[in-house]
């Protein structure tokens, strides 16, 4: 009998996928634990999830220098880029789980399915890791859908809240449409090049028998799908409603996790399939018919301007942070314009900084919401005196989000500016700088409400006592937000190495 031609999997290489395997296992165990206790002891799945995330994180740290390992039959690759993002996602997942534990919106007395929340966060972390590793169209789509489906469930987590279910439904509908659009683009790419693999597509494109117009359409469709994931204008419209309606810990996760995963995917997809390669000057992909840098630059400028201008008018702090996260996608896209190594390194570093400061700002909103049941700016009046420590740390996060010098946000933005100014794209840098000035207004309006506005007569000014874990987490996020602004060499070095490993590895 003729044997099928199947490669026996190489177990040694599969070991590089241990963090993902641990996360998947943790999800199953946490879900099972929740079933066994019938959802009555949420600390059990919580403990399982934290243990799993910490273990996976430890392995991810150990595997920070993987070289280039192609595993699972060429479907995923673990390289510097994947290792960097993997660590980032596990950190984000861990912070989300920990602060969901302290959030009334998740753990309140009337809430259901508390244990499942932790299991779902772990699953989402695993799926985001795979997004950063996919090197095959099939895996790309599968991982994006996995992240998407978990997101839909988490957005509608507060089942009895109209706002939350509305957020979930909107997310599902926009998600389905955009993923269909992207799938069409992917199928066109496959049809034209005959390969599902990123390097195979590249080889097919290099072969030169590809219709330029078809390629243009395909790539634009794919960009549309990915822009939805990162919430860039004009595919941002779901973001404010979803962030506002979803429980705040979930909004925090959404505004950092899937966004970073989307960027990881975009970087790998565009760099290994469309860019001219590491030896060329960097810019100008293979699709010559269209001015790529200009397209992305316009998208970047429009995204940051739109996000900032609309954020100006928001009185709900959560919604304001949603628009601010759109603006930050605009800044991040600056690093993507020219597809240079400098730009990609800047994106990686900025995503790290952004994760710290944005999670911090959202955590503050969670802590305040626990007490006040409100995210409205008017209710923030006097908070600086009711919760001084947390208030000061919130100022650190907001200043960093603005990009004021001693904080990490400034260094991150500085690198992004360098990436465009390197190639004489001054107009984009000027727009970004003007935008930063605009953002100062709405970030510091929160600071003003907390510290400067005089509370109304008879307002409740009793001190707020936050959960001890919230103080710890705020400090864990605030200290590097301050520290990375002063000592960033180590971490930019990490980002540089991650990109170098990817660019020289293929």
């Amino acid at each position: 009998m003729e044997l099928l031609n199947i490669n026996i999997p190489d177990w040694a290489d599969l070991a590089w996928w241990l963090p993902e395997a641990i996360l998947c296992g943790t999800f199953l165990v946490a879900l099972l634990a929740d079933l066994v206790v019938r959802g009555r002891r949420p600390w059990l799945p919580f403990a399982v999830s934290v243990a799993g995330l910490v273990t996976a994180g430890a392995y991810a740290v150990a595997a920070l220098d993987p070289g280039t390992r192609t595993i699972l039959g060429d479907l995923v690759v673990v390289d510097g880029l994947a290792a960097y993002f993997r660590l980032l996602f596990i950190f984000v997942g861990l912070v989300t789980v920990l602060f969901a534990w302290t959030a009334e919106e998740i753990m309140g007395r009337t809430r259901e399915n508390k244990g499942e929340f932790f299991a779902l966060t772990v699953l989402m972390t695993a799926a985001m890791c795979v997004m950063a590793e996919a090197k095959d169209l099939l895996m790309l789509y599968l991982s994006m859908e996995a992240v998407g489906i978990v997101s839909y469930v988490m957005a509608g987590y507060m089942r009895t809240s109209l706002r939350s279910t509305e957020a979930s439904l909107k997310y599902v509908i926009f998600g389905a449409v955009s993923s269909a659009i992207m799938l069409y683009g992917l199928s066109l790419l496959y049809g034209m090049t005959g390969s599902m693999q990123f390097d195979g597509i590249r080889a097919g494109l290099m072969g030169g028998q590809v219709d330029d117009f078809g390629l243009l359409v395909a790539v634009i469709l794919v960009i549309a799908g990915m822009s939805y994931k990162i919430a860039a204008v004009p595919f941002h419209y779901w973001a404010p409603d979803v962030y506002e309606g979803a429980p705040t810990p979930v909004s925090a996760l959404f505004s950092v996790g899937p966004k970073a995963a989307g960027f990881a995917l975009m970087i790998r997809f565009f760099y290994t399939t469309l860019a001219a390669g590491p030896d060329a000057a960097g810019s100008a992909g293979l699709v010559q018919q269209i001015n790529w840098p200009l397209l992305i630059a316009v998208m970047s400028a429009v995204t940051m301007t739109y996000g900032n201008l609309v954020a100006l008018r928001q009185l709900n702090v959560k919604r304001m942070l949603a628009y601010s996260s759109i603006a930050h996608v605009g800044y991040l896209l600056m690093g993507f314009v020219l597809l240079t190594e400098t730009g990609l390194q800047a994106i990686l570093f900025y995503l790290l900084v952004y994760a710290l400061m944005n999670l911090g700002a959202f955590l503050f909103v969670v802590a305040i919401n626990n007490h006040l049941r409100s995210e409205h700016l008017d209710d923030y009046v006097g908070l600086g005196f009711r919760a001084p420590w947390a208030g000061v740390m919130m100022v650190v996060f907001l200043a960093s989000l603005t990009g004021v010098p001693p904080f990490a946000g400034f260094v991150g933005k500085w690198y992004l500016f360098i990436a465009v100014m390197d190639k004489q794209w001054f107009w984009l840098a000027i727009i970004a700088a003007l935008n930063s000035v605009v953002s100062l207004y709405y970030y510091f309006r929160v600071v003003k409400a907390m510290f400067l506005t005089r509370p109304a007569e008879g307002a409740n000014l009793s001190p707020l006592k936050l959960h001890w874990l919230q103080y710890v987490l705020l400090a864990v996020l605030a200290i590097p937000t301050l520290g990375l602004g002063l000592f960033f060499g180590q971490f930019t070095g990490l980002a540089d190495r991650a990109i170098l490993m990817m660019t020289t590895g293929f």
Partner: protein, 161 residues
């Protein structure tokens, strides 16, 4: 993509594959059109109100068809998918299992992969079971904070035909 073709197959390229798909689509449309067209030409046409009524399992149809369906129908459909997917993977696996099992270093992998897959699916089954979704009439969950959902009016409930 030329090296893994079966013996005797001709590499027609990607365009060739899509041409095959196109032919399939065209033949499909032509077949349906032909069958319906011929029937239209041959059959007598004598419509009356009874004939034109929507068929609803022999009952007299009443009301609009745009009603809210009970969400349990969708749940049942989802559970069905659990088993459906299981079968879809089990069949091809079973077909090649006999060939692959004797291969050293592969037999155990092939076996345990399916065991892992089935246990993950069983966890899904256990999940719906514990949550009480296998019962057609689901027990209402006690909500300590009371319920802020309006009860679904009885006339919007749709029962199986």
């Amino acid at each position: 993509m030329t090296n893994n073709l079966p013996v005797g197959a001709v590499d027609v390229g990607v365009t060739g594959h899509f041409a095959t798909v196109l032919v399939f689509v065209l033949v499909g449309f032509a077949f349906a059109g032909l069958a319906l067209g011929v029937a239209k030409l041959l059959r007598p046409s004598a419509p009356n109100p009874n004939k034109l009524t929507t068929y609803e399992c022999g009952e007299l149809p009443r009301g609009s068809s745009w009603v809210r369906f009970n969400v349990r129908f969708y749940l049942i459909a989802l559970f069905f998918i659990v088993f459906d997917v299981e079968i879809i993977f089990l069949f091809p696996w079973a077909v090649v299992f006999k060939q692959l099992y004797p291969v050293p270093g592969l037999g155990a992998v092939v076996f345990w992969e399916m065991v892992i897959f089935l246990s993950i699916l069983s966890l899904g089954l256990a999940y719906v079971w514990v949550k009480g979704d296998l019962d057609w009439v689901k027990k209402l969950i006690e909500r300590p904070g009371g319920t802020d959902q309006a009860a679904v009016p009885a006339d919007e409930e749709v029962t199986a035909p």
